[in-house]
């Protein structure tokens, strides 16, 4: 019974370990994208002269557009990379 228990727990532990690793990687990727996005849109859109704490209308609009463009660029570059990879592996 203990042997069964141990083998069962070890196999379930193995699957869990893979999923945990994948989850950690995904978390790292999401955090990395988030940090880049915030950093680049802040540098592009927010004026360095801080007259007040709230965002202006212009700055809010700029940030909306910046985030949308960032994801668009991400998507396009990902598609091109995928095509390149497919071409390289196919050809």
């Amino acid at each position: 019974m203990s042997f069964l228990g141990r083998s069962g727990s070890s196999s379930s532990n193995g699957i869990n370990q893979e999923r945990v690793d994948m989850a950690i990687q995904e978390l790292d990727m999401i955090t990395d994208v988030f940090n880049r996005l915030v950093s680049s849109c802040h540098n592009k859109c927010v004026n360095t002269r801080y007259a007040e704490g709230d965002l202006n209308k212009g700055e809010s609009v700029c940030i909306d557009r910046c985030v949308a463009k960032f994801f668009e660029v991400n998507k396009k570059v990902g598609e091109k990379l995928q095509n390149m990879g497919a071409a390289a592996s196919g050809g």
Binding site: L27, I30, T31, V33, F34, N35, C45, N47, A51, N56, K57, G58, E59, S60, V61, C62, R65
Partner: protein, 179 residues
């Protein structure tokens, strides 16, 4: 939703950490409340709302100035001879009210136009700098003087642009660091 600031949105949807003191049953209510709050803030920052507030403020200022200037108003003493004191007083107050309404309308129009146009230009350019009020002033001046011919409209636009540039230079001045 209420994750610590500066941290990536890493929680799966529907499992974000709750603010202290709330249970999972309140989550639905919290999302609803947050949705309405977001709509309110979007509405408050929209160009239409800004235009309405500026128009209201302009109306109030115009009415106030007219009220103050009506104390300097002179008129022909022979104008309302056949009325007794109470009727004369009521006539004078009605005149004051009409003046306040007229002047308030004018200032309100100016304020609403300028604020609305500046907000639209700023939304289009996605930048906040001195170009927005100057361009908005030019367009507003042109619109206000549209019935006086093209040259007058152009001159009025230039004048209003200069005026609004002066005001915005004052509003954006460098204040001292010790506040």
């Amino acid at each position: 939703m209420n994750s610590p600031p500066l941290v990536a949105p890493i929680f799966p949807a529907g499992k974000e950490p709750l603010p202290p003191g709330l249970t999972d049953e309140d989550r639905e209510q919290l999302m609803q409340a947050k949705k309405y709050q977001d709509w309110m803030s979007i509405g408050m920052e929209s160009c239409a709302t800004k235009s309405i507030f500026a128009g209201g403020g302009g109306f109030a200022i115009g009415a106030f100035f007219s009220l103050m200037s009506s104390s300097f108003a002179y008129e022909d003493p022979l104008l309302r001879q056949n009325l007794n004191t109470r009727q004369k007083a009521s006539e004078i107050f009605k005149e004051m009210g009409r003046g306040m309404w007229r002047s308030g309308k004018g200032f309100g129009k100016v304020g609403a136009l300028f604020a609305g146009i500046e907000c639209v230009i700023e939304s289009y350019r996605a930048r906040n700098d001195m170009v927005n009020p100057i361009a908005a002033g030019f367009v507003t001046g042109g619109i206000l003087a549209r019935n006086a011919g093209p040259r007058a409209a152009f001159g009025g636009g230039l004048a209003f642009a200069a005026f609004s540039a002066a005001i915005d230079l004052f509003l954006r001045r460098e204040t001292s660091d010790e506040d």
